[in-house]
């Protein structure tokens, strides 16, 4: 015998209250009378003054109260079912494609309806488990005999904006089958065809396919190309569309930037065709959004977000005594309108607030200015100079290596490998004569600085065959100057690492407006399950992450299964009229009977 809602026993305090009420009534109500002479004809009550001896009404009231509490607790008996210990595992797909419309409803609603029918048809007293399958599997409701809680959890489910990863959820269900004694039934509610899943995962499971529509146009590519230190007018936008349906579709693509629409294209796409559209001369910088005005089944992939960086010149304070480095950077500044360089005497510190980035060589300034700093190694001493560089490791996704192919790292020839700083992480790692040492060390986003072992002057980065080195320097200046304006564009399902101090809390504003607090010391990985704009505040800094749903396999919603639809589940003979499997209903009836009896007895007494 177990109980589905043990918290109901907390209401037992009312029993104490009932007893106290009787005691209080007995002790407190004294009626002074002039004489007992006239009261001898009135029968004395059964209550004794010496101890608590309640009357029949009390026992009826107590019975009603206890029955109500037990009814809320909903006890169940393991022998209530003809099929004892039968277990039902429900796996519900919550991937993005489950948001697809099927007529007036969604695939998730169809799955929910089918799961509800399965729950109602399950044998009374059996155990149930609900597993959500999306980017990661999650056991929403562990084994329980209370179908109401499973139905409630099922009603509260919502599809995510990520792709389907059904196998991990099926693995959990498969494990439940393996551990049981043969009475476990697994029902999978998904739009993924059964045959697309490996047989070993779906063995012994009942597949409930939902959805037949394939009408979906999607933005499968949305790229903003903006060169280093380029303004928005130099940026280009390219949008790639794909028609996943088996019919030709017409539609319109509109682009807006900072909420202001600036371009619209009408298009016709044949069945399973793709098309790409380019846009230039952007009217401004900021959040750029592409949107398909097409009433297809899945609206999630009709929208894409990206970012056009606003332009402003980078003011560089150059602290060096090396005229060659000054000359090299001056040449770059002359060719790039976005860079302004002022040579500063290291002995006379200037007003640092007038600059965005400080560039120095070796130990040109002590202490270092409170600015994002690019520090070139060496200083011309040549003590650790080498001309045979071999870059063997790098962080490919770091923004300072944007646009540089790994094979181009071999373009570095000269470096002065001094003592690397300890405040950052190595982005480029080099090996020289069997010795490994960092070539580029970059600090954290909240403390932006970089150390580059090469000497731009001696490396002569202005030569055409040194283009990767020049690009690396420009990337570094761009990254150092970007500061708080950093915006990242990622795909839903990716995890973003919080950069701030692990000991400080972080606040995340999700696309749906919900505020998520990440406590200090907790996991610093943030899974992005919703498409839209995330704003992350940590360590006094705010950054923006644009999450796009972009998954061609998930957007291809036309997944016709070769298997025929499953028959409707029939209610078991042992299933009660009520959805509760326990004795709750009978206890409620018992409470009502006790109350009625109490009323009758009270009426007779009066």
């Amino acid at each position: 015998m177990g109980v589905a809602n043990p918290f109901a026993f907390l209401l037992s305090i009312f029993v104490v209250g009932l007893i106290v009420l009787y005691l209080w009534e007995r002790n407190q109500r004294r009626l002074d009378i002039p004489s007992m002479l006239l009261w001898h004809s009135v029968p004395e009550s059964v209550v004794r003054r010496s101890r608590f001896q309640p009357d029949r009404l009390f026992w009826f009231q107590l019975a009603a109260l206890v029955a109500l509490i037990l009814g809320l607790a909903n006890p169940y008996s393991p022998f209530a079912s003809d099929q004892p210990n039968q277990r039902t595992v429900l796996v519900v797909d919550l991937s993005a494609s489950m948001q697809s419309l099927e007529g007036d409803t969604t695939r998730l609603e169809l799955a929910r309806s089918a799961a509800t029918r399965v729950i109602k048809a399950a044998p009374a007293g059996g155990e149930m488990m609900l597993i959500h399958a999306a980017r990661q599997p999650r056991v929403a409701v562990g084994y329980t005999r209370d179908p109401i809680s499973v139905l409630q959890a099922l009603a509260e489910t919502s599809a995510t904006d990520t792709a389907t990863k059904l196998e991990p959820a099926l693995a959990i269900a498969q494990r439940a089958i393996d551990q049981a004694d043969g009475n476990t039934r697994v029902h999978v509610f998904t739009d993924v065809p059964e045959e697309s899943i490996d047989r070993r995962w779906r063995h012994g499971m009942t597949w409930w396919p939902v959805g037949t529509s394939d009408t979906n146009l999607a933005i499968t590519g949305f790229d903003v190309t903006q060169g280093v230190l380029q303004d928005h007018q130099s940026a280009t936008v390219r949008v790639t569309l794909h028609n996943f349906s088996s019919q030709q579709h017409h539609g319109s693509l509109s682009l807006s930037i900072a909420g202001r629409s600036f371009a619209q294209r009408l298009f016709t796409l044949g069945a399973h065709q793709s098309s790409s559209f380019g846009f230039t001369d952007l009217p401004g910088a900021g959040l750029v959004e592409a949107r398909l005005t097409e009433n297809d089944a899945l609206a999630l992939d009709n929208r894409a977000l990206s970012w056009v960086r606003p332009w402003s010149p980078v003011r560089i304070a150059l602290l060096t005594h090396d005229p060659r480095l000054a000359q090299t950077l001056a040449t770059i500044a002359e060719a790039t309108a976005a860079i302004e360089i002022d040579a500063v005497d290291p002995a006379v510190p200037p007003k640092w607030s007038d600059f965005d980035v400080a560039v120095l060589q070796g130990e040109s300034a002590d202490p270092l200015p409170d600015l994002p700093t690019l520090q070139f190694g060496g200083g011309g001493t040549g003590e650790a100079s080498t001309e045979r560089l071999e870059v063997f490791d790098w962080q490919e996704r770091h923004p300072v290596l944007r646009g540089i192919a790994p094979r181009q790292f071999r373009a570095f020839h000269r470096a002065e490998l001094g003592e690397p700083p300890s405040w950052g992480e190595a982005v480029l790692q080099t090996r020289n004569q069997g010795t490994e040492s960092p070539l580029l060390v970059v600090g954290t986003p909240d403390r932006r600085r970089a150390w580059l072992a090469i000497d731009p002057a001696s490396e002569n980065i202005l030569r055409t065959d040194r283009e990767p080195a020049l690009l690396l320097v420009l990337n570094l200046l761009d990254w150092l100057a970007s500061g708080d304006r950093e915006v990242s564009v990622v795909k839903t399902g990716d995890s973003v690492r919080l950069d701030g101090d692990a000991d400080s809390p972080a606040q995340i504003i999700a696309p749906d407006g919900n505020l998520l607090e990440v406590a200090a010391g907790s996991d610093r990985g943030l899974p992005l399950e919703r498409a839209g704009v995330y704003r992350i505040r940590e360590g006094g800094r705010e950054r923006t992450i644009l999450a796009n749903f972009r998954d061609a396999a998930e957007s291809d919603i036309g997944r016709v299964s070769t298997n025929s639809p499953k028959p409707e589940p029939q209610p078991q003979a042992t299933t009660e009229a009520s959805k509760r499997s326990g004795l709750g209903l009978w206890l409620y009836l018992l409470a009502a009977a006790a109350l009625a009896a109490e009323w009758l007895v009270a009426a007779r007494m009066t």
Partner: protein
């Protein structure tokens, strides 16, 4: 059934029943002392009634065998040839004896104010008696017997003595009417009209013995039963109550259901009827003093109707 007062007007507060204005409204009333019951000349204790000897001639009455031949009016016999006996008015005054119950039951239920009403009625009766030049002697009684609350009053100006003493009396103790009456009779030798104001919540034997004792001592007796609304309809906030007898300290836990209340009220009615019936059988005027009704009605309607006043 005893006469009852059914309407309310005039002075509505028992606390103002002793005011001069209210007392003046009682000037026309007299204590009904009744007729003499004895033939012994000079010993008739009931004043203002005709008797066989005295100074003031009252009337003739026919001779009946057994009358003293000395009392035959021989002149009338000679003139009318019929034997007539002369009767005279007594020379003595008719004292009013007020016996007020001061046991604890007279203060319960407190909201009824039974003792206050009894004291007000006693004050008014004393005023009426004093206005008619008859002395008043008042006493309260409880478990300890009787206690005079004022000296023998002979003038209305002494009435405040009685009022103050009654106001200062706090009801307490148990009721023992027989012992109280016996105690009172030992303290006085002036028979007259005895008015007993009580709730009579004692055994029938007790009040019957007490009233018989007064009758046997030559008193004309009147019994006034004081009762209030809460005594008639006891109410409580809860159904189950613990009854507490303020005199005997007995306890009884009962359920105040409608049926049980009906039983109580039936017992109360039977108790009052029994007193009334017994008093009527013994020639004792009996009247209910309802504390929930105005005192003017009790004094101008109920008491004259019962024969206590005229």
């Amino acid at each position: 059934m005893p006469p009852e007062v059914s309407t309310a007007d005039g002075l509505d507060s028992w606390s103002q029943a002793g005011s001069p204005a209210f007392l003046r409204s009682l000037d026309r009333l007299r204590i009904n002392v009744g007729e003499g019951t004895t033939i012994h000349p000079g010993n008739n204790p009931v004043p203002r009634a005709t008797q066989d000897s005295g100074l003031e001639f009252a009337k003739h009455r026919p001779y009946t065998p057994g009358d003293d031949l000395r009392h035959i009016d021989w002149n009338a016999l000679a003139r009318h040839d019929s034997k007539l006996v002369k009767t005279f008015r007594a020379e003595r005054e008719a004292p009013l004896h007020l016996l007020v119950d001061a046991s604890a039951s007279m203060a319960t239920p407190a909201s009824d104010g039974k003792f206050r009403a009894a004291a007000a009625v006693a004050t008014c009766l004393a005023y009426i008696s004093l206005r008619n030049r008859d002395p008043v002697r008042a006493a309260v009684f409880d478990e300890g017997g009787t206690r005079p609350v004022a000296p023998l009053l002979r003038h209305p100006q002494r009435l405040p003595l009685l009022v103050d003493e009654l106001a200062a009396t706090k009801p307490s103790g148990t009721t023992n009417l027989t012992r109280a009456v016996e105690s009172y009779l030992h303290s006085t030798r002036l028979p007259g009209v005895a008015v007993v104001l009580s709730d009579f919540l004692v055994a029938a034997e007790d009040y019957q013995a007490a009233l018989r004792c007064l009758l046997a001592s030559g008193y004309r007796v009147a019994a006034l039963r004081v009762i209030g609304d809460d005594e008639r309809n006891p109410a409580a906030r809860t159904r189950r109550v613990r009854l507490w007898d303020v005199e005997s300290s007995q306890e009884r836990i009962v359920d105040l259901t409608q049926a049980h209340l009906a039983r109580y009220q039936s017992a109360l009615d039977a108790h009052i009827d029994e007193i009334h019936r017994w008093c009527k059988a013994n020639g004792i005027p009996f009247c209910l003093i309802e504390t929930g009704l105005p005192p003017s009605r009790a004094l101008t309607s109920a008491l004259p109707a019962a024969g206590v006043l005229r």
